[in-house]
Symmetry: C2
Subunit: 385 residues, 2 copies
C-alpha cells in the first residue's frame, strides 16, 4: 500500500496524467470520449485538456466530418513534443537512437566496435553515434528530455555496471555520470536484455502482455522478465541470469551449433547463421544440432517459466532472425518441462530491440517524473511553444 497523501494540485496532476494516458492511444479522442474514459466530468476534462494544450502536451486535430450533431473537437497526444535518446552499448557494436515520446524512431546510428576496445573509446563511439542522431534529427542536446542506455553486464539499481565478462574493462563504468555530463536530462542505465524485454512489451510482439519472459538468444544468451507490467530488476539488479546455473547449460549452448562438421571451419560469428540456414534447407545434421540447442535453451527457459508462469515467451536476440527454425524445436522441448505452456513468439524488432527498449526506459522515466516532480522538465516543454 503505497498511497501517498496529496493536495488538490496533486489530484489535478493525477487527472492530467490520466487524460494524457488515455490520449496516448493511436486515435484522437473527443472530449466526451475522454471524459468517459477517465471518469472525470466533462467540465473538468475541458479544463485539464485546455491546460495540457497550453503546455504543449496535446494538440487539437480537425473535427471529423459527417457526424450527427455539432462536431466534437478532437485531441491527440503530441508525441513529438519531446524526444529521448536510447543507446545500446554492446560488445561488438554501439547503437544510438532518438525517438519521440511514443517510442517511434526519428534517427538512429550504429557503429561496429571491437570487443577489446578500451572503455574510453567505447564511450566516445557512443557519443559520436548520439551526435550523429542529433544532427540527423535536427535537434540539440536541450531537446532531449531523457537518456537511457542498455548495456551488457549486471547493472545495479543505481545504474552502475556491477559485473561483466564480455568487455574487459567495462565493470564499474559510470554511464550515468558520463551522459549526464553532455545532457541536462535524467539518465538511466539498464541491462540490455531488460531493455529489449521492455521494447517487446511496448512496441513489439508482446504489446499489452503483462507477464512475459524475454529470451535474448545469441552468442551470449540472457533473459529478462516483465511481471504484472513491471520490469524485474532484482535486489542487486541481477534478475534473469538463470542461464548461469550449471544445471542449465546455457553458457556453452553454442557448442551444439559449432559441432556440425560441415561448418567446422567457418568464422565464429557466422557458424550459427550457417547452421540455421542449413536446417532451414532440410540438412539433417544441422536440424539435429538446432534441436540439441533448443533442448538446452528449453531447460533454462523452463526454469524461468516455472518460476514466473508468464503468459508469453518472446524469443529475441541475434538468433531470433532464425526464429522460423528455432521456434518449433524450442516449443517441443519446452512443453514437457513446464506446468502451463506459454505462448512462444519470435521477436520482430530485430537489432533495434535494445535501443528501442532503452528509449522506452527513458520515456517511462519521464512519466514517473511527471507523477512525482513538481516541474519535471525544468519547464523545457513550455519553452518550445
Amino acid at each position: 500500500m503505497d498511497v501517498g497523501g496529496g493536495d488538490l494540485q496533486r489530484l489535478r496532476r493525477l487527472n492530467s496524467l490520466a487524460c494524457l494516458g488515455a490520449l496516448r492511444g493511436d486515435v484522437p479522442l473527443t472530449l466526451a470520449e475522454l471524459s468517459r474514459r477517465t471518469g472525470l466530468s466533462r467540465a473538468s476534462t475541458v479544463e485539464v485538456v485546455t491546460e495540457l494544450e497550453e503546455r504543449g502536451w496535446v494538440e487539437e486535430v480537425p473535427p471529423v466530418q459527417g457526424a450527427m450533431g455539432r462536431p466534437a473537437r478532437r485531441y491527440r497526444f503530441r508525441s513529438n513534443a519531446g524526444h529521448v535518446v536510447g543507446l545500446d552499448i554492446g560488445v561488438h557494436k554501439v547503437l544510438a537512437t532518438i525517438t519521440d515520446l511514443d517510442g517511434a524512431m526519428v534517427a538512429s546510428a550504429r557503429t561496429a566496435v571491437s570487443a577489446d576496445l578500451p572503455r574510453g573509446e567505447r564511450l566516445e563511439a557512443a557519443d559520436r553515434a548520439v551526435a550523429a542522431c542529433l544532427s540527423m534529427a535536427g535537434l540539440g542536446q536541450d531537446d532531449i528530455w531523457a537518456v537511457a542506455a542498455g548495456t551488457v553486464g549486471v547493472v545495479d539499481r543505481s545504474g552502475r555496471v556491477a559485473r561483466v565478462h564480455s568487455i574487459p574493462d567495462w565493470a564499474g563504468v559510470d554511464l550515468v555520470s558520463h551522459f549526464a555530463a553532455s545532457f541536462d536530462a535524467p539518465v538511466r542505465v539498464a541491462n540490455d536484455s531488460r531493455a529489449a524485454a521492455l521494447a517487446e512489451q511496448r512496441l513489439g510482439v508482446a504489446q499489452d502482455v503483462a507477464d512475459l519472459v524475454y529470451l535474448h538468444v545469441g552468442r551470449r544468451p540472457g533473459a529478462a522478465s516483465i511481471i504484472e507490467g513491471r520490469l524485474l530488476q532484482g535486489f542487486g539488479g541481477a534478475a534473469g541470469e538463470v542461464g548461469l546455473l550449471p544445471a542449465v547449460r546455457w553458457m556453452d549452448m553454442g557448442r551444439h551449433l559449432e559441432s556440425v562438421p560441415r561448418f567446422a571451419g567457418a568464422p565464429e560469428e557466422q557458424v550459427a547463421g550457417l547452421v540455421f540456414a542449413a536446417a532451414r534447407e532440410g540438412d539433417r545434421e544441422a536440424a539435429a544440432a538446432v534441436e540439441r540447442f533448443a533442448a538446452d535453451l528449453a531447460v533454462g527457459t523452463a526454469a524461468l517459466v516455472l518460476t514466473l508462469d508468464p503468459e508469453v515467451v518472446v524469443l529475441g536476440g541475434g538468433f531470433s532472425r532464425s526464429g522460423d527454425v528455432l521456434l518449433e524445436p524450442l516449443r517441443r522441448a519446452l512443453a514437457p518441462l513446464v506446468l502451463r505452456m506459454p505462448e512462444v513468439r519470435s521477436s520482430a524488432l530485430g537489432e533495434n530491440c535494445v535501443v528501442l527498449g532503452a528509449a522506452c526506459i527513458a520515456i517511462d522515466h519521464i512519466n514517473e517524473l511527471l507523477l512525482t516532480e513538481a516541474d519535471p522538465l525544468g519547464s523545457r516543454l513550455d519553452r518550445t511553444r
Copy 2:
C-alpha cells in the same frame, strides 16, 4: 502507469488511507507527527483523523506525560476494529485462525485429516475449525470482514484450484463459493506457499523485505516469491513451481533422508525429523544425507535466486524446524551456484505460517477494497459503534 482519475472524495479517501497506513505502526502518533509523515497540513490531518475516529478505524490514547508544552493527542490504529479468517487446508491437516487487522492471532484451531479424505468432509473439517475459532473468539460470522484460504495445488487468479496431486479429488474445488455461502464477506484463495511467503514478509523473519524467495521445505516442497513487495502469482497462478523441473531434483529430494540405513524402518512422516536430529547430534551418515538433501534443494533455489535476485531467502515448511542443521549446508551449496548470495534465514512462524499468510491475504484484500470501493464493508464498521 495505472493512475486513474479521481474526484475530491477519492482524494480524501487517499488521504485517509495514507493516515491509516501511517497509524498502523506500533507506536501511537500525535497529529503533528502524522501530518509530517503524510505530508498533509495539520488542519487536514485533524479532519481526516476525526473522521477515522468517528468511523471506528482509529482511537485516541492517553497523552504522554512530562513533555514540554501542551500535551498532544495521540492516536493509534484500532486493530481490533474487525477480524478476518485465515485457513490452511492441507493434505494431512486443516488449520483455521481468526486474527485482528494487524494479523495478530485471536483464536486458532487445528484438525488432523487423512490424505484421502473426500472433498466434502475436508470442507466440513474446515468449517468446524472455523466455527471453533469463532466461538473461542466470541465472534459471529458478521464480525468477519474477509476470509482467505491457503491450500495445496496450483490456484489460478479466480481462486479455483486448477491442479493438485496430493489430494485425490481436490482439483476443481471452488473454495470461494464454499466460504461465501457462510460468510457475507469477500473470500480469497491462494496457494499455500504463497500465503506462507506473505506471512514471513508481514509477520515473520523477512519483515519489510521487498524482494524475497520463500522455500516451503517439507515432504512436498514448494516455493513462492515476493518481488517489489508484491506476491508473484503468474499468469496462470503457477509461479514458483520451479521444483517440477527435472533438472531440479526436488520431487524426490526426500530419498536422501530416507536412505540413511539407521532409520530405514521408521514411519515415513518421522524419518526426516529423525535424520535431522541425528545430524544435530553429530551422526556423520545423517549429516551426509542432510548435505545431499541441501545440495538438491540448492539447485532449485539457485534457479529461483538467479531468476529473481532476491534480497533474502526464507526457509520455511515442516523442515524449517531443523533450520539449525539445514541452513548452513544450504548456504554452502547455494553460494557457488548464484551470482549474488542472498541472505538465508529460517522461518520462525512454524506451523502457523500458512494460516497467518491467509489472514494477511484477507487483510490485504480489505485494504484494496478500501482504496477502490465506495463502501467496502457494507457499513459494517459503523454498525459496531
